[in-house]
């Protein structure tokens, strides 16, 4: 079982210094549960951020050197072709740059492998990978797929192993020249980020404080149904019927 973790040229969100991203470190942690030796793969001008992942349980790091602003996909494909891993793990988004989260999908498409996003647990049984995928509202989905595959990791996955200086210094970095691939499309215009206000429909702009408090605490629509002093059985049935009508409870099995 050979597992490869994709590492981005990540920056710390506050200080801006090179530092590996949390989901990539969590991916290393998940991969160590499947195989003893986990390698990392990074394509970019320098591997300073990816080198930081060596202290979190990565045994070896493959670095493919390409100029800044080039597409890393051809270099990654070439490296995956020579390493021949069974499983490629990636974070949810890169730790710097455009952060579209598109690269694992393009990689899976180019390799023809299946991709599962947002994994929180992995298990392998005889060439079949079982992935537990995190969905919103605490829901989980179980995927069973034949290896090889590409899997991205969700922040709800188990926490990464803590940093150990000894393993970080023992880890090997294999550097090679990657395949330069300049992007065809022009780079997007960039400006300093300005946070935009979240638009909320009910709070009218320019309304007074009382109106805004009412909008924050009351329902937008008209008042609902009120039952005064029903018997407990009537009340229970009314609540269950209402919950079924709004789709919160599943319909009763007997009906």
């Amino acid at each position: 079982m050979k597992t490869l973790v994709l590492l981005s040229d990540a920056r710390h969100p506050v200080s801006g210094r090179p530092a590996p991203t949390a989901t990539e470190l969590q991916a290393i942690n998940l991969a160590r549960g499947l195989a003893d030796e986990v390698s990392g793969l990074h394509a970019g001008p320098d591997a300073e951020a990816a080198r930081g992942a060596l202290g979190h349980g990565l045994a070896r790091l493959e670095h493919r050197e390409i100029p800044a602003g080039h597409d890393p996909l051809p270099s990654l494909l070439a490296a995956i072709g020579s390493e021949a891993p069974d499983l490629v793990l990636a974070g949810r988004r890169a730790g710097a740059g455009a952060q579209t989260g598109l690269l694992p999908y393009r990689l899976a498409e180019a390799l023809g492998w299946p991709i599962v996003a947002d994994a929180v647990a992995l298990a392998v049984d005889g060439g079949v990978l079982e992935v537990i995928q995190a969905l919103p509202k605490g829901a989980r989905r179980r995927w069973r797929l034949r290896l090889p595959a590409v899997v991205t990791v969700h922040p709800a996955a188990p926490a990464a192993a803590s940093f150990a200086l000894g393993t970080a210094r023992k880890g090997q970095v294999g550097a090679a020249i990657g395949i330069p691939a300049p992007l065809d499309e022009p780079a997007m215009e960039e400006r300093p980020y300005r946070p935009r206000p979240r638009l909320i429909a009910s709070a009218a702009a320019g309304a007074g404080a009382a109106e805004r408090l009412r909008a924050a605490t009351q329902a937008a629509g008209p008042g609902g149904r009120v039952m005064v002093d029903p018997s407990p059985e009537e009340a229970a049935q009314a609540i269950l019927d209402h919950l079924r009508a709004i789709g919160v409870l599943k319909p009763a099995s007997g009906r």
Binding site: A98, P232, H242, L249
Partner: protein, 398 residues
């Protein structure tokens, strides 16, 4: 403080009585204000003691019956006007998540953004949905196409069908919500057809879209490409005119097989009682009206809901602090909130503000929570709880 200015002419026009050559106005009930204006002449007329030669008024209310407002001719109810776009210049395709056939708030915002894009150039909004979706016309949809691929499970088939539709219908843009399902589908489609994806747009017009990048230190700006995903709370949903949501026949697309390496995809049951409140979809909450907390937890288990509590209960140590709902506890994102014995302090209601449905059980008819609730039961929560558990048990045994 700003307050909307009253327009007396408009208010008077709203009260105009029709059917007469001479203009007449209803002056007894001002339509704009919730407070009723007293009409002393009508009150005096109602209090007049009948049969007396001399004018006698009985102000005690015994003689006069109920003071019913004078009957007015019922206005014919106008049918809601539906805006129809016959020959759109272009199409804006939208792929909503719509779990269980209901639009999510982000889906409505996405349709609002699509409405703005299409209205800017005489286009139409087209919804591509997997399975039927309710309330599309009111959300501003002109055309719908129901797709054949299954809504759950392997997204490979859905991606292939969307790629086929993109080629067949040639929409100007295809918009996805930046949610777990929608974002995944958009990225799969972008990788499949090798096109650029504008992921997580925070503003979107026909000329310019912006998105955060570089750990939210950089804003990227560009003319939006064909594939765009929209971030939550970036656009307002469409309100006002109802659109027709006409159903179109889906163009013939060769069905794509599922990826042969994917053996099975199945949804696991949600362990609701172990969920953090911020993630929960259905919350049952206890306030001062609940005294038996074993019963309360049993009810939460039986309903499959996450237990929550008010500040009073958490302060008393009856429920853990992590279960507190409200401004100083957790602000919920749940679809439904069942409040047992909670009157609804403003700080508590702030925690419930983003819940779609609220059900309240309270002894006080005038509690703020009763006003907020879609269904309010004026009864003792301690007696409703065992009845609910018994009703659920009886249904499961049937």
């Amino acid at each position: 403080m700003s307050r909307t200015r009253r327009d007396p002419r408009e208010e008077r026009e709203a009260r105009r009585l029709d059917g007469n050559a001479r203009p007449r106005w209803r002056l007894d009930t001002p339509p704009s204000s919730s407070r009723l204006r007293r009409d002393p002449r009508r009150e005096a007329e109602a209090a007049r003691v009948p049969g007396a030669a001399r004018l006698r008024l009985d102000r005690s209310g015994r003689v006069a019956g109920t003071l019913a407002p004078p009957p007015i001719a019922a206005e014919p109810i106008a049918a809601p006007t539906i805006r129809i776009i016959e020959a759109p210049a272009f199409l804006i395709a939208v792929v909503p998540d719509a779990p269980g056939g209901r639009l999510t708030p982000l889906d409505r915002q996405l349709l609002g953004a699509a409405r703005l894009l299409s209205d800017a150039g005489g286009g139409a909004v087209l919804v591509l949905s997997f399975g039927a979706v309710d309330g599309l016309g009111a959300a501003g949809v002109d055309r719908t196409v129901a797709l054949a691929a299954p809504p759950g499970g392997d997204p490979t088939m859905r991606t292939a069908e969307l790629a086929g539709l993109l080629a067949a219908l040639q929409p100007r843009h295809m918009l996805f919500p930046e949610s777990a399902t929608g974002g995944d589908l958009a990225r799969r489609l972008a990788a499949r057809i090798g096109e650029a994806l504008f992921a997580g747009a925070e503003s979107l017009t026909a000329r310019l879209a912006t998105r955060p990048a570089g750990n939210r230190h950089v804003e990227q700006r560009a003319a939006p490409p064909r594939l765009v995903t929209l971030a939550p709370d970036a656009q307002l949903p469409h309100t006002g005119t109802v659109h027709e949501a006409r159903r179109l026949e889906a163009p013939e697309i060769a069905p794509a097989p599922a990826h042969d390496a994917i053996l099975s995809v199945e949804d696991l049951p949600v362990a609701a009682d172990a969920l953090p409140l911020a993630e929960a979809d259905f919350v049952v909450s206890a306030g001062s009206g609940v005294t038996d907390f074993e019963l309360f937890r049993e009810l939460a288990r039986a309903l499959g809901a996450t237990p929550g509590a008010s500040r009073m209960v958490c302060d008393a140590g009856l429920m853990p602090r992590a279960a507190q709902v409200g401004a100083s506890g957790t602000v919920l994102e749940a679809a439904c909130y069942l409040a047992l014995g909670i009157s609804g302090a403003p700080q508590h209601l702030q925690g419930v503000a983003r819940c779609e449905h609220v059900v309240a059980v309270n002894t006080d008819l005038h509690a703020a929570m009763v006003e907020r609730a879609g269904l309010a039961i004026i009864a003792d929560a301690q007696q409703v709880m065992p009845a609910l558990i018994a009703a659920l048990k009886a249904e499961s045994q049937r």
